[in-house]
Amino acid sequence: MTEKREYVLIEHEKPWTYEEDGLKVARGSAWTGPGCHIGCGVLLYTDENGRLVKVEGDPENPFNEGRLCIRCLALPEVTHSTKRLTYPMKRDKALRGKNQFERISWDEALDTIEAKLKEIAEQYGPESVLFMQGTGRDIAAWISRLAWSYGSPNYGFPLSGLACYLPRVSGMYSTTGSFWVCDCSQQFPDRYDNPEYQDPEVMILWGNNPLISNSDGFFGHWVVDLMRRGMKTIVCDPRMTWLGARAEIVLPVRPGTDAALALGMLNVIIGEDLYDHEFVELWCYGFDELAERAKEYPVDKVAEICWVDADRIRTAARLFANAERACVQWGVAVDMTREALPAGQAISALTQITGNIDRPGGMIIPPELIFYGGGFGADLLTPEQTNKRLGMNQYPLLKFGFATFQPDVALRAMETGDPYEIRGLWLQTTNTIACMGADPKRWLAAAKKADFIVCTDLFMTPTIMALADYVLPAATYPERDGLRIGDGPQRGETINKVVQVGECKSDMEINLELGRRLNPEAWPWQDVKEMFTSMIAETGYDFDGLRAVAPAYPRYIYRKHEKGLLRRDGSPGFNTATGRIELWATVYANAGLDPLPYFEEPEPGPGSTPELLDEYPLVLTTGARNWGMFHSEHRNIPRLRSLRPDPLIEVHPDAAEKFGLKDGDWVWVENQLDRAKRRVKLWPALLDARFCSTDHAWWFPEADPEKLYEVFDLNINNNVTWTPGKSGFGSNYKCMLVKLSKVEEGETHD
């Protein structure tokens, strides 16, 4: 390894692009559309016709060490799919829902969109346009700047309670001033061999199956690496997964009760005096109050709430607290409960009172090249416009550095015009009615009220078919240049354009071109490369320079709180009001929220509405990932679809017998709100016969476009309401009461 500036670099055998057997090879990062957020190192092979013919994992890249999941392996079949959107289109507003789009030029598309957006801004104010994205296809920076430079404070995503990742992120920032992830050596280019690094002894896998989901900058198979090196695991999952079968302890927690489980474990750790006294004394605030709160959650009570054996909870708490080095790898199940903030707070406290903070094998702060969390260009908004952000008044926590609108409030504005009418929707990378939108028919009805709707995506989707007046074709990652910033430890990496498909443009190119028309001063760059170079100026690299050396690792330092590296004033401690990790959270107290973690029963649920159990006896969790699909993507890629042709619901054989169902039956999954179709997969590995589990974001691209690809037959969010937590964060997407009944021949949703 050599060092340049403050970055640690790896040696490359070859330049970033080279020839091999008549093919051109380009090294780079995989981010994204299609696929996930984490940015594996890839080698992209193109032929003399400019087609992407093969993708390999880059063995030199320490992040994934040559490994890839099947989504990037099958990438050529996505990029060159004949089903891609390859040119801009328009459709008369009166024809929304009809498959009657008309091809237009980019000039016409951008001219009209510019004119229309300017007209709306003039007549109604720019706040009446909502800018919405889906999950992170390298979009947050660009779409937020587009919204703000236009003058709209309303950038965000149409997910009730912002219930993915943001509750955890904002919770951790609010209580510790930083973000925390498990230390799997991912911050070091020499990985497990780094002399400062030590493996965690114990890892809790909480509310995610990282091997499949690879979410939030975390390459799931690091867990397997570490298990092979001797790490023990505790798995919190209602199903016996492959990881569970290899775990020391499995806690089959009832979906939606994670906060209670964590509080029960805190009760054991504090009650049995297993916590790290020195760390708590020196670096934590509000321990006594936390201890009092934890007393309200004796293990026997928690066992009853969570449907987990009390002794197992005790053993797990002891194993975790007694480990020299331990961490928690958690997932979206924590966010997808209505009271997600206190749930995350309780789980975080496990790592905090045991002192597993910024030390090897504990929780670490992922290093950042450039700050990414708050969007790009919030200073472009006037204070007057900023104050119009939807949800700020109802949910004061949104004022503390979080840039998005509150989606439940935004939906009500779309529906009722309160506090103002919503006139325009800019939907970039979001297939809302198939994926993140709760109660998607309600959201669709509200969205249809907008006068003007633009959608940007890779493929035609149910959302575009239902809503778009203008459609812009976006690029997959081999079709564009980019910077790999994002969640998890940032490594200075670039995404490198190697092919062009049709007239597609990258998301950031689209935003730059439109942004320049709407507000030229805010977008002073000639092209995206110039924009990237200006963004990374502080690194000392320009775009081409970074591309040549990538990945560039910021130097990692443990125990930053001891060294005065976390606070702006340079004093030791954490970046919070008290300078400590706040087990009792000042920020929550100031926002009128309970400063301590607590548990509330999900509603409806066995604990809150036992009277519903006769009719809806099963507890359903949704959103289980499968290997070949990323959210609503990949249903139209035959190779990946062949591994999961239909949406499945895993049902315990005992429950199936009760409902008279057999493996492969199509069923309605129904609750008090609505229903959705699934195929039964008998699955004995559900650890309680009352649990069932299903995947999400289904539509059938092969079905009738004007029936919206049967999305309302298939969308499990038919059964989810828009009901956020008290803080505005969190929503019950993953815990509901349902019953199952056979679908009659030819029966559809409506």
């Binding site: 093969k54 993708v55 390999e56 994992g57 063995p59 060490e65 040559g66 490994r67 890839l68 999941c69 099947i70 392996l73 099958a74 050529p76 091997l211 499949i212 799931g220 198979h221 397997v224 690496d225 298990m227 092979r228 016996m240 997964t241 492959w242 569970g244 079968a245 499995v250 290997w627 070949g628 035959p638 190779r639 062949s642 591994l643 004995p684 590995a685």
Partner: protein
Amino acid sequence: MAEYGILVDYEWCSGCHSCEVACQMEHGFEPDHFGIKIAELGPWQIAGKKWQHANIPLFSEQCDLCAARTTQGKLPTCVHHCQAACLSYGTLDALAAQLKEKPQQALVALR
């Protein structure tokens, strides 16, 4: 006589299918043809908290041990991309020595 093969540490095969798809893409196989295919062994409860839940990679007649790659000094693509790093390529002699080092492994002679 076979000389080369793949050693499978099936204790750690996560069933991620990367080997299957890497092989298909390298060889231009349709989605229903495989050089390597994963068989799921489980899940069933053996007793108490113990569960059988394993994935076993099997090799078909279409496996040519990635001859075109290995002659260039590259690893077979299934080995290269295996997410659990549980596949090893080498001479049967070398792999046989590794085989003795831990249980739940299988050695497949391929060429």
